[in-house]
Symmetry: C2
Subunit: 111 residues, 2 copies
Amino acid sequence: MSNNKHNMLSEEMCYDLADFFKNFDDSTRIKILYALFQKEMCVSDLVRELDMNQSAISHQLRVLRQSDLVKFRKEGQTAVYSLDDDHVATLLEMGIEHIRHKNGYEEDNYE
Amino acid sequence: MSNNKHNMLSEEMCYDLADFFKNFDDSTRIKILYALFQKEMCVSDLVRELDMNQSAISHQLRVLRQSDLVKFRKEGQTAVYSLDDDHVATLLEMGIEHIRHKNGYEEDNYE
DNA sequence: TGTTTATATGAATAATTGTTCATATAAACA
DNA sequence: TGTTTATATGAACAATTATTCATATAAACA
């Protein structure tokens, strides 16, 4: 099933992986994911928490939805969003650990 | 030490995290990282393995170097690159797992 | 029904970025 | 010293994308 001479990932998998990680390459999406890791929230909660334009939040939520990183349910007019992937927290933690290590911190509070 | 009202990551950490994950948001860099996970390689090895322009490879290696994801040593004229972060393989694996789950695969060969 | 509220989304714009081309550096070697 | 080989890098261009503005949808409610 290999489409490469050596031990390489398929072209398609490489693109899919890059698309997956694109979800984490923007600080607004990082903030949204971290906020939803604390607890589920509706759009206007996130607008308040991140102090950002409602449209910007909705656009980014759509990106995260399309990658199945967040899910939502409708409650009347409000849309309640929550994380839809167990790995999100672990991924963020590994990123934080890398940055701490890179910057030479032993321990620090990033909140 | 918090610069936010709630339990949020600092502005700086969010930007640093986004910058860290940018390393994984491009299929060329994914290929380079995966190749270096197999074994250390020099630039021309990667050029051959990925079948790409030498300049493109060098540019991407610089990006990865600046984020401390790869390191290199000089051996004469050649530069031998290798991974410089233990988490790279785990991160890629989590991405692959997410994609498998999303696409409904139970098990598959992506090489 | 008409109004308000919550959310979604298309279009436009500005900013970022991956690749290529051309060239620079510097080691190896004739 | 002059040439070849390996790698690095600046400039330019094309493509992608985050945000804003304007507007659409649709639920709640007077």
